[in-house]
Structure formats: structure tokens, C-alpha cells
Symmetry: C2
């Protein structure tokens, strides 16, 4: 099997369900989808280096996770059930202070493994020591947009260092010349970055033509503090700094008012909904999906980091999103299954500026196969409902990114080593932190 994984080759996936019909998919050896549809197998059987029997599985574009701190998988379960401020200041930050580049590598490897295993082929990550995240992504074969979490704490000296760190990462990722790995600018949030820092980020992103990844209106305190400090609401401040663009992904967006939603829609910015994290940390308000939808804003989906979720399963997250929207806005018709699935696929791809997110000729072959021989897909009154409300990532059998097989029949090469490497790094990290 070893020569199947990660290899540049042409692939015929025969006998899958695609939007309710039986179809085949041909992947060219340049990593793009060559053909999709009925009868493709007859035309391409001879041409394919590898034939995968889909066995009636449901073919989907790989899921796109638009808000992560991947390396925080190393902190999974380290602290839960706490007030946000205590959780950060007593548990998360003291541990993060001891993180090494190797830890970021190991944590990102674990996160990539978990994402591939649950059908995610692209993610939007913000953290630090991102050269090491890039190394992990490169090896894992997944697609990622990486940003350095820019935090100047309103200090000009710190700002200078953060600008340099951002520039260094963009330069480093450029030097990799890996089509799967992109850079973005990552101003952390309006309460951790000065307006000068925010403006620099906006200008640098425009100049480099790269994405922007920021936290926005996660808590009510962010909004009230922003109004007190700046005399305007957070999304308006971002817009004034030039940060609301079609290349922007704003995470959380719990406390946006209707005018801010309209503004995001007008600017073409994307909002990443992170329902599990918001519920676990009790943000006290869910993203106003209905206003964003009405405003034509691009709403996509993200898990947040593993310290506040505590997994990266985008199937679970899509269900949680659909349930939370219904419960929180008291309307069972909000965010129906097909919109939740779009959030996790095509909307996320659009937010990241990727051509993936749908299955069609000429599109990068980011494809997952979800088993139809499972309880979660039985019966089949509505395939989309089953995917969103009934299945979790464990139903994914095969994951392909950029035309390369990353998981086949749930097997991923080197899985045991990745798990044990991450477990060891996490144990060492806690030991170092506690021995101080």
C-alpha cells in the first residue's frame, strides 16, 4: 500500500454517490480533477495509475476548517470547565510559555492527522512558531493557510517585532513554494493589537495579496470595551483599519449587531462560526447567522483550537452549528442541513480563496469518501441530512488532497508514530511547566 499514499499519480475513483447519483471521478496526475460523472470509469480506466473502489461511498469535497490553532491539540483536555479568564491566565498561557518549536511541530502533526482522519483537507491556522507548523503541514499532505498571531499589546516596540515576525513567516512560506501552503496575516484581535498594528496588517496583506485571519466579537466584553475605547463597534473599527476585505476571515462573530453583519456582507468578508468553542466557553450569544446570511456575507465553519472544543471534527461542528443556531435564535428552520454542509465546504474554500470546495473538472482534487455502509447513513431519505445530523468524521473512509491519497480505508501511514510523538511532547511540556 505504501506506494499509494502521498504519491503523484492519476486515480480513478469508481462507484461513488455524488449529489444522489452514482458516478466516478478521474484525478489527473497534476492533482486536478479531470472528469466527474456517470461512465467516467469506462473512459479513464486504462489511463489511471490507481483505481479506488468507491463501493457506493458518498463523495464530497474535503471539508475546510476556517479557524484553528492546530498546535493546541497538545493541550487537549489540559483544562476545561473554567471561566475564560482563569482558563487563559492560570492554565493555557502558563503552559504555552513553555512551548518549543518541536512542540508546535508535534501538535500540528497530531492536528493534521485528526483532520485527515475526519475528512478535512484544508484549514486556516493562527499560532506562533509557524515555520514548524508549515513543516508539519508539508509532511502531512494537507492544505493550510498559516498566519502568525500578531499581538502587540499596544506597544510600539512589540509592534515592530510582530511586523517582523509576520514578514519572516510570509517570506519563509514563499520560499517553500508548496502549492498547498499559503500565508496569511494574523492580527489576533482588536483588544490585543493597536489600531496602528491593525492598519499595518491590512496594508501588508493588501501588498502581498494574502488573506487576513482575525478574532472578532467573541465576547460581549470585547464589544463594550471597544465602544468605550474607540467609540465604535468592533467590525466598524476593523473596517476603518482596512481589515474587512474579501480575503478576510473573522472568527467567532458572536456579538455582531445587524449593521455590522451588513458591513461584513458589503465588504465580502467571511465569518467563521465556531459553535462548540462558543458554547464551551459560554459566550452567551451565538453568531447571528440569519443577519449574516441576509447580508450575503460568506459564513463558514471552524472548530477553534483543541483546548476549547476539544476536537477538530468538522462533521460534529456542522451539526453543532445547525443545532446551536436553531436553539439560540429559537427557530428550528434556521441553518438547514444543506447550508451547514455548504459552510463546511464551498463557503470555507471561498473564504480562503481556494478553487476547491466543490467537485468538478479542473478543480484541485480535495476529495473525501464517506462510507454509505454505516448506521449513520442508513436509511437514505436525505443524504445531506445524514451527513450533517447523523454522521461524524469516523464515517470518512478515504481522504485525498491535491490529488494525493492521504487516507485509504481509514489507514494513514505513520499514524502510531504521530500519536506517540504528540503524547510524549505533551507530557514533557507539562513536566517542564510544572517543574518551574
Amino acid at each position: 500500500m505504501d506506494d499509494i499514499f502521498g504519491r503523484q499519480q492519476s486515480i480513478l475513483i469508481a462507484d461513488v454517490q455524488l449529489e444522489g447519483r452514482i458516478a466516478d471521478i478521474f484525478i489527473r496526475d497534476d492533482g486536478l480533477i479531470g472528469a466527474v460523472g456517470e461512465g467516467v470509469r469506462r473512459e479513464y480506466k486504462g489511463a489511471a495509475d490507481l483505481v479506488i473502489d468507491g463501493n457506493g461511498a458518498i463523495a464530497l469535497p474535503g471539508l475546510v476548517n476556517t479557524h484553528t490553532h492546530a498546535a493546541m491539540s497538545l493541550l487537549r483536555g489540559y483544562a476545561d470547565d473554567m471561566i475564560l479568564q482563569d482558563w487563559l491566565s492560570r492554565k493555557i498561557w502558563p503552559l504555552e510559555a513553555h512551548l518549543t518549536p518541536e512542540d508546535v511541530y508535534q501538535g500540528t502533526k497530531l492536528a493534521c492527522l485528526e483532520m485527515i482522519k475526519s475528512g478535512t483537507t484544508a484549514f486556516n491556522d493562527m499560532y506562533f512558531m509557524m515555520d514548524e507548523a508549515a513543516r508539519a503541514v508539508d509532511e502531512a499532505g494537507i492544505r493550510a493557510t498559516l498566519s502568525y498571531g500578531f499581538i502587540d499589546l499596544f506597544s510600539p516596540e512589540k509592534r515592530e517585532a510582530e511586523c517582523k515576525a509576520t514578514e519572516d513567516l510570509i517570506r519563509h512560506i514563499g520560499s517553500l513554494a508548496n502549492p498547498r501552503i499559503r500565508a496569511a496575516v494574523g492580527p489576533h484581535a482588536i483588544y490585543t493589537v493597536s489600531p496602528e498594528g491593525l492598519i499595518w496588517c491590512a496594508e501588508f496583506a493588501a501588498q502581498e495579496k494574502i488573506g487576513i485571519h482575525i478574532h472578532l466579537s467573541e465576547t460581549e466584553k470585547e464589544v463594550t470595551d471597544c465602544i468605550a475605547r474607540h467609540g465604535k463597534r468592533p467590525a466598524v473599527l476593523l473596517d476603518d483599519c482596512g481589515l474587512l476585505t474579501p480575503r478576510t476571515i473573522a472568527a467567532h462573530c458572536c456579538w455582531l449587531d445587524e449593521a455590522e453583519c451588513t458591513l461584513l456582507g458589503k465588504r465580502g468578508a467571511a465569518a467563521s462560526h465556531n459553535p462548540s468553542s462558543n458554547m464551551k466557553l459560554a459566550t452567551n450569544r451565538a453568531m447571528p447567522y440569519h443577519w449574516l446570511f441576509k447580508a450575503g456575507a460568506n459564513v463558514c465553519l471552524g472548530t477553534d483550537g483543541c483546548a476549547s472544543n476539544n476536537n477538530l471534527d468538522m462533521f460534529e461542528e456542522a451539526k453543532t452549528a445547525a443545532l446551536l443556531q436553531k436553539f439560540s435564535w429559537n427557530d428550528p428552520t434556521i441553518l438547514p442541513a444543506h447550508e451547514a454542509l455548504a459552510m463546511a465546504t464551498v463557503n470555507g474554500a471561498k473564504g480562503l480563496g481556494l478553487a476547491a470546495g466543490r467537485l468538478g473538472a479542473g478543480v484541485p482534487a480535495d476529495i473525501i469518501l464517506v462510507s454509505s455502509h454505516t448506521a449513520c447513513n442508513t436509511p437514505r431519505h436525505n443524504a445531506t441530512s445524514n451527513l450533517v445530523y447523523s454522521c461524524n468524521g469516523g464515517a470518512v473512509e478515504t481522504t485525498i488532497c491535491n490529488g494525493r491519497v492521504l487516507m485509504l480505508e481509514r489507514e494513514i501511514p505513520g499514524e502510531e508514530q504521530i500519536l506517540s510523538g504528540a503524547a510524549r511532547a505533551a507530557a514533557d511540556l507539562v513536566r517542564r511547566a510544572h517543574s518551574v
Copy 2:
């Protein structure tokens, strides 16, 4: 392998994690746990008919699902994203009108398969044609408490028929003499059963010394209608009818006030939290867990039927419960992981009057093994947090009920036939309903 499954035999499970320590478990051939602890393997290795290598898996008591309509797995995905009344009257009830006994059998078989696959070993079911549910449970090897959904719609004639149906089921289940299958009385809800019917159910349950399974305060309308009709709140009405007992499991309980929670605690009644269903159908209020907990009420967990969830994964449900409580009551410290796990295990067993729900000598061997070689259990800062917040039912490797192996290394005999049987029954059901 075939002689392993469902067989009465003694079993040694070697090398599992039990509350953070490495241990072994010996199961006697009468289905009870014989010994648990370090070094058990040395003592019992020769005595065991079968040795299972735990491979460091986490051993847990089998999960207990305290509110299901198992056969509704046949309706999974048939209708979603609708207002409760439309959903019931336009979609669910018209389809249910065409259900045959064979459908109930096939649907319950599918539900049992899904439960075994995700680590549930006992469930509390309310539906109709329950002889067929009993047949499915008997074959599946799982444990269940079965009640006929008693609905008299305030008509004396209908009441008489419902009493008879209830008596018939109790008699039938008694005749099975299967220690895994128990009967309960199932008055559906206060808005579908007359006070006379409720009183009959209470008296019959007391006489037969069996459980009571009822829906309670799922919607605000139930409360306001009850006050208008009876001049008291729903839990008070139930108590006046003699239905709040230590053998009672009341599902949903979203709209209880604090005095009602105190009343449940005082009577020793159990409340089954069904967070996914409540969110999906937008009940607009979450069960007041904090009041019930303070009152000493037994709070357990249930998935509800697959038409309103849409799966039976109790790991997902425990996470959803913990997240919903935090979000809904705006406190991230509510329902910490260990309480959520207790809801899904020992509390559920207590609610059903089962000795299971914990792992100790002399207790029925309802045991699941959760793989530790998975991303969801890596790293291992906190095993309970991982189980509740990170894992789903897919991490369960082995399921044992009453000392018999139902799933080993995720294999269940006859899985394909159960899936195809249920798929066929569901397709036929829809065809019959639409051809009218």
C-alpha cells in the same frame, strides 16, 4: 470469531485503563464481573474461556441511553429543519401511520446496532408494537427497558385500549424471561394522557413494581396549557397522579421551574436530558441542570429518537449536554466532564434500576473498551475530558453486555444484513405512505 460473539463464556480482559490505572477484568460465565484490578490476569488467565487483549484501551461501564424511540431510526433524515408542529403533523405522523410490526423490528435492530457500535449497552425505549422491539433487543444482545407509549387523548374508550396494550406488553415481556429485557409503563405526556390515565399508569407501575417513562415539560406550551387546564405546573400534576417515583424517568424537563426540580429531587425521580433534540427542535430553554443537581435529583442522559437528533451516539450527546448547559445558563463551569460522564453511565443505570453503570465485582458485565490509540485520546492530560469533549462513539472498540461480546474490534456479526434490512424497510415505508 463467530464462536466469540454472543456466547456465554468466561472472559479475561487484560491490559485496560481503569480510572487512570492499568488493570484487568475477569467476567464470569454467568455474565457478572468476577474481579477487577491489577494482577487479575495472573489469577484468572487459566480460568478464562476467552482472553481479550485490551491493548491499553479505556474500560468504561456501557453507556445508558435513558430516552429513545428506537424504531424511529427508520425515519432518520426523513424530515428536518421544520417547526415542531409541522414536522409532526405533516411528516412524522403520516409516515408512522404506515409502520408495520416488521418496520418496528427492523428499526429497532438498526438502533441496537448503532448503540452497540457507539458503546451503549442499555436503553429506555418508548414506542408502539413493542413486542417487535423486544424481539430485536433479544437478538441484538443489548439491555432495554421497553414501554408502550400510552396515549388516550382524554377519551375513556381509548384509555381502556391503552391500559390493555400496556398490560399485554408487560405480560409478553414477562413471558420472555430474558434478564436483559424489562418492561415499563409509558404514559406519553400530560397533554396526550388524561389524569385518569396517568393515575392508572402510576398504580399499575406500583403494582407491577416496574418503571415509568414519560415526557415532561419539553415545551413552554406544555407548561402554559397545563396551568390553564389544571391550575398547576406539569411536575406537580404528575406528582398528584402518583407518577413521580424513584422508578420514574422524565424526559426533556426543559421548562421545569426551581420548585419542580426540588420536587423531582424529593421524590427520587430521574430527569433525562436530551440536549440535541431540544436544540434541533428549538425548545427555547435547556433543562435547568443546576437546580436539579442542587435538589439531588438524578439527572441522566438520552438521545431521543433518530428523527429528532439524528443519531444515538451517547458520547456526542454527553458533549452536547455539557456545551449546552454552559452556553444556555451562561456559566462555563456548569456540568463539568466528570458529571457529564456520570449522567451517561451510573446515573442512567440508577434511573433504570440496573446494577450496571460501574465496573466492580458482582455487577453485570456491561463493559466497553475505548481505544487509547486515537487522536481523540491523545494526549492524555485528562481521560474523562477526552471521553466527553473529544471522542465520539467511533472510538469504542469492544462492547460487552451481560458478559457477552457484542462487538470486538468494531466487528459486529450480521452488520451488513441489519443495515440492508433497515434500508429496505425504510424505502418500502416511504413508498407505501406516498402511494396513498
